[in-house]
């Protein structure tokens, strides 16, 4: 019989592990599934991509498989198409995100008003954002179709066009055409985010501004915009990163053509993997994409931290 067993008001037997340790272990146990799942589908593949990028690895030429160190990276520096894709990516991101933002802001201001049938209009206008990317791409390919596309037909009827335009195969028009498609898809994202932001602004602020004699435009500049600033920053940064990575639309609509006019870095990576089966070079491109994204992410985290302290 130990001393503890003999006491009357004995505390419960001391657990093998302290409460603190138990909590710690339980926390890790809850994280185990997520760790396994992201380890296997994200972490290991990223390490593998870095590894692959150091090899000459073309699927149809297995006899040439060998370690080439930074050879693929050297090739990338001298690859004019790669530099062109970076330039195109910048246009793709800037054109898409700036106009998505403006359109989304206008939509959010409209949807914030009280009117009959608002719930229905909201749902309908947000639809382009949830439908599959390949569907968006094909719908617009059909609209842009030179012979039986509705865009040419409408412009004909309006008298604004006198000969058929091949929107997606004209090198000057292809990029604006795919950007337009991306805008259609992305406007709802900004509309949702900014609408949520608008609804979080207390009515009293508007009432107070009104009592002070502020006009509609003044209220917009001095109440709405400053209060929306945090969400504008977060939504725009998220969208920039996402658009830079997003390849589906262009991949389906033009595959980067004509003559690389719509080739962005992520579609170029896909092209290397699927058409040239050059997995070493595709891995190199994707690692470079990853590095650019990491730089963006670090900047993004700094900006959002800054925003959080302001908000």
């Amino acid at each position: 019989m130990s001393y503890r067993d003999a006491t009357i008001a004995a505390p419960l037997a001391r657990p093998l592990v302290t409460r603190r340790t138990r909590e710690l272990l339980l926390g890790y146990a809850y994280l185990l599934p997520v760790a396994v799942c992201l380890g296997g589908t994200v972490l290991v593949p990223i390490l593998k991509a870095i590894h692959m990028s150091l090899y000459n690895h073309v699927l149809i030429k297995p006899q040439e498989y060998r370690f080439i160190g930074l050879g693929n990276y050297a090739r990338l520096l001298g690859d004019d198409v790669f530099w062109l894709t970076l330039w195109n990516s910048a246009w793709w991101v800037f054109g898409s995100v700036s106009l998505q933002f403006l359109g989304g802001f206008a939509a959010a201001l409209l949807l914030h008003q009280a009117f009959a049938g608002r719930a229905l209009v909201r749902t309908v206008t947000l639809l382009p954002w949830v439908i599959p990317g390949v569907v968006v791409a094909l719908v617009w390919e059909y609209i842009y179709q030179p012979n039986y596309g509705i865009l040419n037909d409408l412009l004909f009827r309006l008298g604004w066009l006198h000969e058929r335009v091949a929107w997606l195969s004209d090198p000057r028009l292809a990029m604006p055409a795919v950007i337009m498609t991306n805008i259609w898809r992305g406007v709802p994202f900004f509309a949702i985010m900014l609408l949520a932001g608008l609804q979080a602004i207390p009515d009293e602020l508007y009432e107070a501004a009104r009592v002070d004699g502020a006009s509609v435009t003044q209220r917009f500049w001095h109440v709405t915009l400053p209060l929306l600033r945090p969400i504008i920053v977060v939504a725009t940064a998220t969208r920039i990163i996402w658009t830079f990575n997003y390849a589906d639309l262009i991949f389906v609509m033009t595959s980067g053509g004509p003559a690389n006019a719509t080739q962005i870095t992520s579609t170029y990576t896909l092209l290397q993997a699927y058409s040239n089966l050059d997995f070493g070079y595709a891995a190199t491109l994707s690692v470079v994409l990853l590095l650019i994204m990491l730089a963006f992410t670090i900047a993004y985290l700094r900006v959002t931290r800054g925003v959080e302290s302001v908000a």
Binding site: K48, A106, I150, D203, P230, T297
Partner: protein, 288 residues
């Protein structure tokens, strides 16, 4: 922006509330669903009407032939693609939800070493390009003998669903007062019991948003689906649509039908559950 009762509305306000509002709404609605209406109409047209010049806008006689062809064709069996997409998206949805509830709860409630690192990893993972994962995952699934299986698609989908849903749920769980589950635990509930009985019912909108997000985004997934499947009968709707274009000269009638078949389920799901989805998504983003 709010009620009009406070004093005289200035001219700008009256214009904004009237013509600009209604004109803007009409434009917005047309912009959002116009392209869809066009494809919807085309999916009921006969071949002659589809390729007529000048264009025929409204089909004179409605035909379902495009749907029947797309649904049953041996080249593009949409019935099979539909079943594949439904299975892959449903399993992804359930697994993602369970995994991210556990992880989100742990990150919201336990203070353990490495918590901040985990949170940062989830945020950063959302920003990785999907193309980065394609080549390495292909060789990984090939080595494991998972090419042309549902598992390869479902596991790969985790790479983009899970980081986002965990991030979203951490915010949701943090907004639920700790005291509620602490009192349940004093009453004899275990950690897991408190999570299941107290926290989850309160976090239901967030969990619903998580589930819809996982379903909708795996329904839309394209790149993994075309990379990790080689046989026609293993294609999902997205992959099936893409192959339809690649096969031969595009049959716009069948393609329009395929587009409608691929869209309707997510559109319906979204229409009924958009409130939850939007609240969940914006809660995640507002948190920053």
């Amino acid at each position: 922006m709010t009620g009009r009762r406070a004093g005289r509305a200035d001219l700008a306000e009256r214009v904004l509330g009237g013509p600009v509002l209604w004109g803007g709404l009409a434009l917005l609605t047309l912009f959002a669903i116009g392209p869809f209406v066009w494809v919807f109409l085309s999916s009921f047209k006969t071949r002659a009407e589809l390729y007529a010049t000048p264009l025929v806008y409204l089909p004179k006689q409605i035909t379902l032939a495009n749907y029947v062809d797309a649904w049953t064709s041996s080249l593009t069996p949409f019935s099979r693609f539909f079943a594949n997409s439904l299975w892959v998206s449903s399993v992804t949805m359930v697994a993602t939800t369970v995994i991210s509830i556990l992880a989100g709860y742990a990150l919201a409630r336990f203070r353990f070493v490495g918590r901040d690192v985990f949170l940062l990893v989830f945020l950063a993972t959302q920003m990785f390009p999907a193309v980065l994962l394609i080549a390495p995952l292909l060789s990984q699934w090939y080595a494991l003998g998972l090419i042309d299986t549902y598992q390869a698609l479902i596991y790969s989908n985790f790479s983009f669903t899970v980081p986002f849903t965990v991030w979203m749920l951490v915010g949701y769980f943090e907004s639920i007062p700790r005291e509620l589950e602490e009192s349940a635990m004093i009453d004899g509930c275990g950690r897991l019991g408190a999570l299941l009985r107290i926290v989850l019912p309160l976090a239901a909108p967030g969990v619903a948003a998580t589930a819809i997000f996982a379903f909708v985004s795996s329904w839309s997934e394209l790149l993994f689906a075309i990379t990790f499947t080689t046989q026609t009968e293993m294609r999902t709707l997205s992959a099936g649509l893409l192959y339809m274009v690649g096969q031969y000269e595009i049959q716009w009638g069948q393609l329009s039908a395929g587009v409608m078949i691929s869209t309707v389920p997510v559109a319906v799901l979204f229409t009924f559950l958009q409130r939850h989805l939007i609240r969940g998504l914006t809660a995640g983003a507002l948190k920053g």
